[in-house]
């Protein structure tokens, strides 16, 4: 009997997943994030005047995340000029290291917007399992591409996806 109920629950989940398209999910609303000076913002306030946005989940202690953000930071001015993209880095550092986020960002010389998601509410609704996890969001707030992990050179694939998005809009 127990097994049947479990199977039923699984079946319901599977049917739900199939009946509703998961394509191009929208950015969740009303999740509170904090800016580096302690100000609260809602997730739907993340915007870039109709141009693409990259959201990257990271943490101060995550080596590949830092490699990814350093690599993007070096190219960021170029990318902005070329595509108008905006990078939003969301730190999942908890109370252990959340006070080190601003020093870490400034110390690394990063030029992009950074928010903290201390108890990982935003990470959960974005279905992030491991970090780094990077999303490409179009001008309407829809997730058009996502990628997990970072190996050297992955930023080139991201740039190609941003350009692809811009071309498909034209």
């Amino acid at each position: 009997m127990k097994a049947i109920k479990k199977l039923a629950a699984l079946a319901i989940m599977a049917v739900m997943a199939m009946t509703v398209s998961a394509q191009n999910a929208k950015l969740p609303e009303n999740i509170t994030l904090k800016s580096l000076d302690g100000k609260s913002i809602q997730s739907n306030e993340i915007s870039n005047d109709g141009k693409p946005i990259v959201i990257s989940f990271w943490a101060t202690w995550c080596k590949p995340c830092n490699r990814e953000l350093n690599a993007i930071n070096e190219l960021y001015a170029e990318w902005q000029e070329e595509t108008g993209v905006k990078l939003v880095a969301v730190s999942i550092d908890d109370a252990k290291s959340s006070m080190k986020v601003k020093p870490h960002v400034d110390g690394s010389g990063w030029e992009f917007e950074v928010y903290t998601d201390e108890n990982q509410a935003f990470k959960r609704v974005m279905n992030v399992v491991n970090i780094p996890h990077t999303f490409l969001i179009d001008g309407q707030g829809k997730i058009v591409w996502q990628h997990t992990g970072y190996i050297d050179g992955d930023e080139e694939e991201l740039l190609a996806k941003i350009k692809e998005l811009l071309e498909s809009k034209n």
Binding site: A9, M16, A17, A22, W61
Partner: protein
Amino acid sequence: MKPTRFAILLLALFMHTVAAHGQGIGGGQVTGNVQIDGQLTRPDSLIGAKDDPERWLMNARADILYTNGGFNAGLRFEAYTPPLPGFNAQYKGQGLANYFVSYANEQIEVTAGTFYEQFGSGMILRAYEDRYIGIDNALLGFNIHARPIKGVTLKGAIGKQRRYWEYGNGIVRGIDGEIDLNTAFSKLEEMPLHITMGAGFVSRYEADENIASSTQGYSLKLPLNVGAGAMRMNLAYKGWSLAGEYARKGQDPNAMNGYIYRKGEALLISGAYSQKGFSASVQAKRVDNMGFKSSRRETGEMLYINHIPAITKQHTYAFLSMYPYATQATGEMGLQGDVMYKIKKETLLGGKYGTDLHFNCSVITGLDTVALGGAGTEGYSSTFFSTGELYYGDMSLEIARKLDAKNKIACTYGYVVFNPVIEGHGGGLHHNNVIVADYSRKLGKGKSLRIEGEWMGSDSHYDSEIDDKRSGDWIMGLVEYNFGGHFFLSLSDQYCYNDGIGNYYTAAFGYTKNATRLQLSYGKQREGILCIGGVCRAVPATNGLTVSLTTSF
């Protein structure tokens, strides 16, 4: 999760109806993620890997989230058949672990079902999960967030806490308020000093029970309601920031503190200065009898209502994190400092691309206490500014430099002093010196190479009675090759060449495409401690094949 089966079915049906309808009006969407980690184990007496009769051990979970405007509903299915080595055996089983519905608009957010919550830095309440260390103390109940005016957030939470596949006896109730002065008062909007303040209160109710005081020979008169309160403030002025939180807890005799009646307190202060290319930060904390659980008899990793963060740096290199520090919620004092500096590019020391320096150091001690008695008494007294026994200390310096467009190198020196008392056994302090070299090279389209070498010299010697297999001097090498844009192959070996035991080799292969990742690895895993956010779990030695699949959609 027996009592809720009916509710789950109702919820699932409701979600499906709404989901199908949502698609009709074009508003609803389903997202989710799946993670499966399995291990085919082989016994290995040399490293102490156990013979698991099941052979195939697995942790698997799937989250499904339905969203339609402000309406959300979610389910999580988990299966531990049986759990991977190191996870508590009580996780064994499968079923729906989480289920909730929530509604949110600009002013209010209400959640019914399982939820996670944190007040301030979490010193009086933090319901969270960390799947890698097997912690999930989700609350089952109601959660409200209200934003009555801009800049003000009020939170309320009530529920019982998850304990593996059941819920704890205690009821947890909490309220919290936070005000961002610069947003709340338009006159302060342009002020360069940014001020936020907050306060919270949490109370736990647990029915009376009979707990005898072993020394006095009578039953303890237990407080049924235990309260904890905290106040916090955060100041930011240009490059400067200062944050502090102070928490107190009422009398809470419990199994962790030996049923003493001393009140608890904790203080956490951080200060930082940063500008582009330079930052310095300092953190200090003092924790005294602040372990707060929703069941007074609980001792292990579960049913924590609060979370006291460790302030030591979370090291990522294998040997620097070999002896990690775990928060001692019953009592500790700590100080941590961190400096980052970027030597400008096109200078003598900075080179063509600049050079990054990162220095950190920390020291953690116990409290200086005077014993006053056992269960049923005040327990002990302590002097606020006086430190006790050394628990942990570390310092590290990392120098990272991009050599040219293709080559990068990072070198780290670290020193760790560790007191095994915090892991519950003696043997005196361990002093370890660690050197790491980490080199990476881009090899053209979709190809790159990373080579890491580590050395650790230690004054610890292997003792068969304590059986700490981390003892001795170690050397390690790792080669990682990424190719085709999506694949990686890595080989590594950790070898103890002096005063200890062990040779741990691993080969791993992985494939990543968009948000899906598959990894296979074969080899031996050293027993050790895995820590995330100052919460640690022991990872036993294992030998065998590990398969890991994650995907998000």
